[in-house]
Symmetry: C2
Subunit: 521 residues, 2 copies
């Protein structure tokens, strides 16, 4: 120990002053070092890519950007991006040391994965732990995602990854034998069934503490839509109080810190456009297990523009879910649904919340497909109740909805979470996209409609998105409106319109061109 | 056209003002947008990762960082990193539009590669072209590297990648039937044989226009070492003049823009610590072909701490080189050499240049292994000459070296390129690392010695590095010096010393522990 101290004297002379820079580098620690830095030669660090920064016993890894402008950092300062500054948790002006950083230890395992090896539980544990602690750069995360992607993980490895992700965050415990949940693998715009399943199931008396995510690149997540009606940011204690009183909630999962590594992985995976089924299974099941679910219904929509495009693929994915779920002792059922087009009419938080409330209010204008799908899902969840006879779930769900008890429960939940004081309405810049010819709507592209709604500003601008006026099977005249774009900001309005000009997402043809629905299970 | 203009009016109101930021983001375009930007919502772009920036008909893709500090960029400005600013080639204050960017088209091919498909020539062509034009983010490059890594490319794909890389840059043409070159795959510190082979071969009259790279994470490249003696930055025309007059040169390849994609790939690959043999073959052969070589000798050192660790691996790599070389019509020979320890004594530009000059001057202190290896390589290159009888190359090379003709040629080349006016000497902060016990040096870790020399500051600080005082087979007493560290900067000195404390790179044992050299071919 003494020898070590002798060779690295801890004087102030070999330290840099921390400066917080107002730069948000989105899930990556970046440190900014002046090219003429008096202590370290910045370019050396840049070529070697990462440095370790030490202060007050905290250590972070960061990527180096070299600065040529002393107004950003001076030659005896070290700038930190907002995230890196938070993570190091020091004060501005604090003196720090910079060290050469080796790649995180677990990159060895990633390299083994790249060369085709099978990894074990310990490998996944340290990879997930390093990523959770922001020790990976985005290029390293990308390497891990690709190496463990599509063809790279067998089902045992998916199980290991799930367990590692589960361990990486908090876990909720509801102290009840039956804690139910439902989850859709995503990819279908407007598919807000959770906001109907939760009040129906909770009205029946089952415990359904639903936590969900916000949209990242899709036009709305359940949290974004629920937020139109109520506060969704709940502390764990509030969550417990609400759920124990009302048997359900619709809260944002972020505060609960469940499987935090997931958000980091997604922030790299989405822009790359890669979508590994193994990672999807690990991501979903780790979050649901962390949320304390004992019984889970998974919805896999199948369709030409859905995440899963064939029945064969859906069955393969179902078996992956079943395998991992069984090993981790969660009662899991999978339902395969029609994913040929968006569900309901609205795409975007306000428009989707409107659809949901119409269904709850038994409004004759309520979108029929959203009602039907939600009842079927709720029915299946109700059958997790030992007292519900097999096959009777659907009619119980329908009774709860038709009687207004679901609406009543939803209002209870909204009040408990805190009703939204802002009154949102659909955004005011609108334009209608019309049919280029007469015919029948034979297909609506889920991906393209999600894209258009995103470009229009959803979900950050709550009132923005797309309102579908025609669905598959509807007849249209030439120049009849197919859907309406809502946008709040002019730039978004332009982006969405330009996108529609390239591809409006609708196919008009003859009735016989409509693809058959896949059989639902 | 009119309709399009109507929906995106090109007024100044929807443009941002370009501001050049003094931030060097190292081979990645980064754009900085204020969180409260008046025109665009920065966070939307961030989640979607990339934007396209258009001005004067130029278009670049850039990753968005969100800014919370108006002194960096204001709400109606768009900041650009140095590289992005160069690439867009506009003036500061220029008004630009920002668009949502799709991932580069060729990412489709990368995704197909990830899912296990075999790619064709056109796929590699657009991937390489997109990367060359800085359209890839580092995460995308990482995805490509991993997907096409170790187990991911068959030899036809390696051929395609080589051709794409070759096409991506300039190509030199020497208008001679016999243009020779030699290249080592790297990984052995101190291995500066090119600086001996070139003067020997050129003195014989063969054309050997050697262009080499600078070190990125290794302690010295041939260019870094040659730069101790002479200018290495030569314009293409100068290069041609020197070579036509002196038959050889030792220049930096950077100005010639040969296979420019290679540097970008390496900037991501090195920090990841992945090392794909397929990419190595494509990288080396594309550069050599672009440099106009007709005959090429490849040196593959084999050793426990070399890049290639077994004879089986070396043979596999040799066959890859032969396959691609034959298809691309270059006469290629592979020599497998002893890679059990560093070559020569010095590691770092000044120390290596000293070794080279000692050999050229026939100094009795010259490192014998460097002399012998260089003569063997030069001999093989000389045998590319149809007039040299098979097996006689070595003795011709030795005659040229012993007679002083090689030294004379080297001095001609140095003068032609421009002798270095700065007189470099070994860096002045030194310390000796001593043997912890008596015995025989049984192994020297190439990787660790390279690491120590890098940490000491090589190659950017020319006089820094490591000077080996003992080599494998030498007897040592306890506390006898094994090597000397030279550093110029105190921080580097500390870094190198700390690294030695963890692992000094030497193994001391009994003579029988020395591993046998692999047979050389």
């Amino acid at each position: 120990m003494r020898a070590k101290q002798k060779t690295s004297p801890k004087t102030e002379k070999n330290r840099l002053k921390i400066r917080r820079l107002g730069i948000d580098t989105y899930h990556e620690n970046v440190a900014y070092l002046h090219r003429e830095c008096e202590l370290y030669r910045a370019e050396r660090f840049q070529a070697l890519s990462k440095v370790e920064i030490c202060a007050n016993g905290n250590r972070i890894l960061a990527v180096i950007n070299v600065i040529d402008d002393s107004s950003i950092v001076t030659t005896n300062e070290l700038g930190l991006s907002e995230e890196a500054f938070e993570r190091l948790s020091v004060k501005e002006g604090q003196l720090v040391k910079v060290e050469h950083a080796e790649p995180p230890v677990s990159m060895d395992a990633v390299r083994r994965k790249i060369s085709g090896e099978r990894l074990g539980q310990e490998d996944f544990d340290i990879i997930v732990s390093d990523i959770t602690q922001s020790r990976y750069s985005k290029t390293e995360i990308s390497a891990f995602l690709v190496a463990s992607g599509q063809t790279g993980m067998d089902r045992d490895e998916i199980l290991y990854l799930t367990q590692s992700m589960l361990q990486s965050g908090e876990q909720l415990d509801w102290n009840e034998p039956l804690v139910v949940d439902k989850h859709c693998i995503g990819g279908i715009p407007g598919n807000r069934t959770s906001m109907l399943v939760v009040p129906i199931v909770a009205a029946h008396g089952m415990l359904i503490p639903k936590t969900s995510s916000r949209a990242i690149t899709s036009p709305a997540g359940t949290s974004d839509t629920m937020e139109v009606l109520a506060n969704v940011k709940l502390e764990i204690e509030e969550l417990h109080n609400i759920v124990s009183k009302h048997r359900g909630c619709l809260a944002w999962g972020g505060t609960a810190n469940l499987s935090p590594v997931d958000d980091i992985l997604i922030s790299v995976e989405r822009p790359l456009g890669i979508d590994s089924k193994g990672q999807m299974v690990a991501s979903i099941l780790s979050k649901k297990l962390a949320a304390g679910s004992t019984h889970l219904l998974i919805d896999i929509p199948v369709g030409a523009t859905a995440k899963v495009r064939s029945m064969r693929e859906a069955l393969h994915l179902r078996k992956l879910f079943e395998f991992v779920g069984d090993q981790l002792n969660i009662h899991l059922e999978v339902i395969i649904t029609d994913g040929r087009q968006p569900v309901g009419r609205g795409i975007g938080p306000v428009l989707e919340a409107r659809d949901v409330m119409q269904v709850l209010q038994n409004d004759p204008l309520a979108p029929y497909d959203l009602r039907q799908k939600s009842l079927r899902l709720a029915g299946r969840v109700l059958e997790f109740d030992p007292d519900v006879r097999g096959g009777y779930g659907y009619s119980i769900a329908r009774d709860i909805l038709d009687s207004g008890r679901a609406l009543h429960k939803m209002n209870e939940i909204i009040d408990a979470q805190g009703a939204q004081t802002t009154k949102y309405s659909p955004a005011s810049l609108t334009c209608e996209i019309t049919a280029p010819k007469k015919g029948v709507v034979t297909a609506i592209d889920n991906l393209q409609m999600a894209h258009i709604a995103s470009f229009a500003g959803a979900p950050m601008s709550k009132g923005s998105g797309v309102d579908l006026l025609k669905k598959v099977g509807d007849s249209v005249q030439r120049n009849e409106p197919l859907y309406r774009i809502h946008a709040e900001f002019l730039s978004d309005y332009m982006f969405a319109q330009n996108l529609c000009e390239r591809d409006n997402g609708y196919t008009i043809g003859k009735p016989e061109d409509i693809s058959k629905a896949f059989v639902e299970f």
